[in-house]
């Protein structure tokens, strides 16, 4: 089991090195003649006003909250799904009840108008 994760670890390292190689090669062969106009931010020909990293209205903020709830839920469901064969039907239905409670939460958010784009 540990060798599996050793394999994944090496894979991660090699996987990060592979895309760096063409970048380094490109750095060696490509011309480099920067000037301020060339390096300016592209905005269809208009000069940029201000910084890009501004406070921005994230309209999907509520969606992100609902996402968190469901993401945690699905993680809890994986052990249940894996042991489904060994479990009696009663416990399977308890898992269904767990999903039903979350669906009730989704319906509540829906009725409250949280799933509308504002």
């Amino acid at each position: 089991m540990q060798t599996n994760w050793l394999y994944i670890g090496i894979f991660l390292v090699v996987g990060i090195i592979v895309p760096i190689v063409p970048l380094v090669f490109s750095r060696l062969v490509a011309p480099r003649k920067p000037n301020p106009i060339k390096l300016s931010t592209y905005e269809c020909g208009i000069e940029t006003v201000g910084d890009s990293w501004v406070q921005f209205k994230a309209q999907y903020y509520i969606f992100a909250l609902i996402f968190l709830v469901f993401d945690v839920e699905t993680v809890f469901l994986f052990p249940w799904a894996l042991s489904l064969r060994q479990l009696p039907l009663f416990v399977v239905l308890e898992g269904v009840l767990f999903i039903a409670i979350l669906v009730a939460g989704l319906v509540y958010a829906w009725r409250k108008g949280m799933l509308e784009w504002v």
Binding site: V18, V29, T41, E43, T48, W53, L82, L106
Partner: protein, 405 residues
């Protein structure tokens, strides 16, 4: 004959004898063999990626009634290499005010997040990176990294279009991951395992796409959304935000984003094949008949797998070049009001039925699963039709003139 039946074990055994003969410790030998094996696998993936550029350009040309690349080499096969040379020798521009570290991390992550998926991709019963027992969760985790590369690249460019693209990708990510993970529970339930090898073996009799066609469709849609391909390509939306997250990327860095997207699509085609179409196997028991026993050969299996993965990739391309882009509020509404509830219904259906129908003979189990999915699909369509009627009626009440036309 051993090489043909089990190439990886054969080469690994040979290498182990050779390196141990040099007096290296067994732990070091394992690491060296792993590094070599990983390098070969990744080089294969990257070579495939280069050919995918050609496939993509040729297929989109045919969809749009054009010829596509046909000048360099036979059928334009050398074209992707020409593309790469062009990209490499282009000047690389880092825009003023960009966050240098994250700006360079974006394209690297775009490729790395796809490549690490190849660690668990089962090319055949004997040719694969590693058989993780939590492969399904690994797939979700690595998929999220791919989205992260877009967010990082878009944010670090210090460009307002790129920032908008990144914002849209976040909205995409916090939505479509839910139906995807829920639907990934269904192969897990049916195969009683999260390992991709076990899932493949469990489908040797019957594909999961037949046991649960709705799960396959939901996975396909959320995979396309996760890839950020049309109709969910709001993160690059040429007509609105020019090129979205990769607007400030030039040369090879843009090339890495492009190559990453293609390989990602192909890899998801591969995972669709593994999770729902029997992967390298799934011949409905044909391979047990003496005459067809060559289907068990790992090289034949690898070819079968690549054909299935290419078919999945082709379907993703087909969707991409046939569908117009959808609006962002529609995208979120489609996920939260349609896909997620449907995925949960399919999940409950599969979980309960797999418990109830387990006593039946095999054909009863398959038919029960299949028709329950058909019934759910028909009910869904009926609900949608009722909703559409209601909408049209409301429209007619508000604006009688327009409704008549």
């Amino acid at each position: 004959m051993l090489f043909l039946n089990d190439p990886i074990t054969f080469i690994a055994g040979w290498m182990r004898t050779l390196l141990s003969g040099w007096g290296l410790s067994s732990g070091l030998v394992t690491v060296i063999i792993y590094i070599l094996g990983i390098t070969v696998l990744i080089i294969f993936a990257m070579a495939l990626d280069i050919m995918l550029v050609w496939v993509e350009r040729k297929v989109v040309a045919r969809f749009q009634d054009r010829l596509g690349p046909n000048r360099i080499g036979p059928f334009g096969l050398i074209q992707p290499f020409a593309d790469i040379i062009k990209l490499v020798i282009k000047e690389d521009i880092t825009p003023a005010g960009a966050d240098k570290l994250l700006y360079n991390l974006g394209p690297v992550l775009a490729i790395a997040s796809v490549i690490i998926l190849w660690a668990i991709l089962p090319l055949s019963s004997r040719i694969f990176g590693v058989d993780l027992n939590v492969a399904v969760l690994y797939l979700v985790a690595a998929g999220a990294l791919g989205t992260l590369s877009i967010i990082v690249g878009g944010w670090a460019s210090n460009n307002k279009y790129a920032l908008l693209g990144a914002f849209r990708m976040v909205a995409n990510m916090v939505s479509y991951e839910i139906p995807m993970v829920v639907v990934l529970l269904i192969p897990t339930i049916l195969a009683n395992s999260m390992s991709v090898q076990d899932i493949t073996v469990a489908q040797s009799g019957m594909w999961f796409a037949i046991l649960s066609p709705l799960a396959f469709i939901i996975f396909l849609i959320s995979a396309i959304a996760e890839l950020g391909r049309s109709p969910f390509d709001l993160n690059e939306a040429e007509s609105e935000i020019v090129a979205g997250f990769h607007i400030e990327y030039t040369g090879m860095k843009f090339g890495l984003f492009y190559a990453g997207e293609l390989l990602h699509a192909f890899t998801f085609g591969g995972f669709i094949a593994v999770l729902f179409f029997g992967g390298y196997g799934g011949f409905f028991g044909l391979e047990n008949i003496g005459f067809f026993s060559w289907l068990n050969n790992p090289f034949v299996q690898a070819v079968v797998f690549l054909v299935k993965a290419m078919f999945g990739y082709w379907v993703i391309m087909w969707v991409k070049y046939s569908m117009p882009r959808i609006r962002i509020d529609h995208m979120l509404a489609f996920n939260w009001k349609f896909l997620t509830p449907l995925a949960l219904v399919v999940l409950v259906n599969t979980a309960v039925l797999s418990k109830v129908l387990i006593g039946l003979p095999n054909w009863g189990y398959v038919l029960g699963m299949f028709f329950s999915n058909i019934v759910i699909g028909l009910i869904t369509v009926e609900i949608l039709r009722a909703y559409g009627r209601k909408q049209r009626k409301a429209e007619a009440n508000l604006n009688p003139q327009r409704a008549q036309n």
